[in-house]
């Protein structure tokens, strides 16, 4: 658990989705997760998490109404660790095709696409949304098999299971930023990426058991590091070991 010196992660609360599991996951790795929509609190936090469940246009409208789009664009590219989850990942892109074409935060060039009608190998139709566990594989766009080290996927192996809930996925223009891909029927999609200080994933690490908590643990480590090593690594506060 955290104490008063725990680094603070601003969990952006724009009325979309359940943020409490994100907060609990932060706590379990020694981060103090604070639900907030205050620009000031987002700026002063040691790390930022953009979660989200729901529809893209509603989410963008909510971010704009709260005046948060510009502060998010600003933080992208700074040192501060930035974790974007599910709809949060999609919002980073230039545009989405959900309910017509809508502009996103445009931090990462690319678009958000619908699954369409995915089919399995036998031609059977798969359910959309994809709800459940799926595996993440190292991106085929990179040669380097060690590409996950030094990222939030450090310590995980290709083929790890994560929990997904989505009908859309982000398709970044620049394939070099793709960290992992996943397969849903005949569709292969980007399931996580790294761009500057941002780690974005389509799956929910806070609902992906210990594989997901590993990502939070790495996020907490990078937050402590970016804070200037004032905090010693405290593995005891991380995942329960017995």
């Amino acid at each position: 658990m955290h104490d008063k010196d725990s680094p603070i992660a601003a969990i952006i609360d724009y009325g979309m989705g359940n943020l409490f599991s994100v907060k609990h996951a932060c706590l379990s790795v020694g981060l103090k997760g604070v639900l907030t929509s205050s620009e000031e609190k987002i700026r002063s936090a040691d790390a930022v998490i953009l979660p989200g469940v729901g529809a893209f246009p509603d989410a963008m409208n909510a971010l704009r109404d709260l005046g948060l789009s510009s502060v998010l664009r600003e933080i992208a590219g700074m040192e501060k660790p930035f974790l974007a989850i599910c709809l949060g990942m999609q919002l980073l892109m230039s545009k989405s095709m959900e309910f017509g074409c809508h502009e996103g935060l445009d931090i990462i060039k690319g678009e958000v696409k619908h699954f369409g009608n995915p089919v399995d190998q036998l031609g059977g139709r798969l359910k959309v949304p994809e709800i459940g566990w799926n595996r993440i594989y190292k991106s085929a766009h990179k040669e380097n098999s060690d590409m996950w080290s030094e990222t939030l996927l450090d310590g995980l192996e290709g083929g790890e299971y994560m929990y997904f809930v989505h009908s859309f996925y982000a398709d970044p223009q620049e394939k070099d930023i793709v960290l992992s891909e996943s397969q849903y029927g005949n569709i292969r999609f980007c399931s996580s990426l790294r761009y500057k200080n941002i780690f974005a994933c389509q799956f929910h690490p806070e609902r992906s058991a210990l594989s997901g908590l590993k990502i939070y643990k790495n996020f907490a480590l990078s937050t402590r590091r970016s804070k200037g090593d004032r905090y010693r690594e405290d593995p005891g506060s991380a995942i329960r070991t017995a």
Partner: protein, 290 residues
Amino acid sequence: MAYIRVIPRLDIKGPNLVKGIHMEGLRVLGKPEYFARHYYENGADELIYMDVVASLYGRNNLLGIVERTAKEIFIPLTVGGGLRNIDDIKAVLRAGADKVSINTAAMQDPELIRRASKRFGSSTIVISIEAIRKPDGGYEAYTDNGRESTGVDAMEWAVRAAELGAGEIVITSIDREGTGKGLDLELTRKIAESVSIPVIACGGAGNKEDIKDVITQGRADAVSVASILHYDIVMKHENKGDFSGEGNIEYMRNKRSFSMINHTSLQDIKEFLMRSGIECRGYKAEKLYA
């Protein structure tokens, strides 16, 4: 095929995990937190908590249990029982649930599905349909844990719920619930084929074959199981603690099972499914402690 989910369902009455047959005659089996933690550590893909007496009292009493669970269990948790409106849903989500399961209130006011899915996202709203087979072969939806007849056809209700924005459907056969006679394959298949959203089959699993059948023949996307897992823990583990409150604790104390149930573990179920060519989330126990 997508990865099939195996979802332990915990029926809760007051502070205790209970289990009945046809949703009646509740027996106390232990503390829900203990079972939840055990299932989490042993590869459960999600968990479902049902307050089985909530409809009687008109409120959900699980907030405390949900809060304690959400702090230490990092897989999706669905909570149901007695949720009547947006505020009830909000309270359960704030306590740490990821999804809510709604039956009675949605049946009384179907527009609640639309409002709730708009407010919290479709994937948060699970519609629970409890069905009883009619003499003509059709299925009728029931509410209040199988006590109240509605006159509504289960298939039509599933289609309507999906149109209104439900993210998933849990289909429970009251005829089979707790009996161990196998899940209702026909009911599950009819529901799964009428909607494009995922369908969770529930009620009646007596052994691993039943679970496989409801996936291959019933076309379920997920299977929710209770007795088959709970009795395994009752048999193997010591249940400690205070079991005050109502309920029949004789089964728990005497470690008595129930003849139609071949109790088994999550790991056994998953290994069996994978050997049968059904993909599910693989799980290695040692990884948990690495």
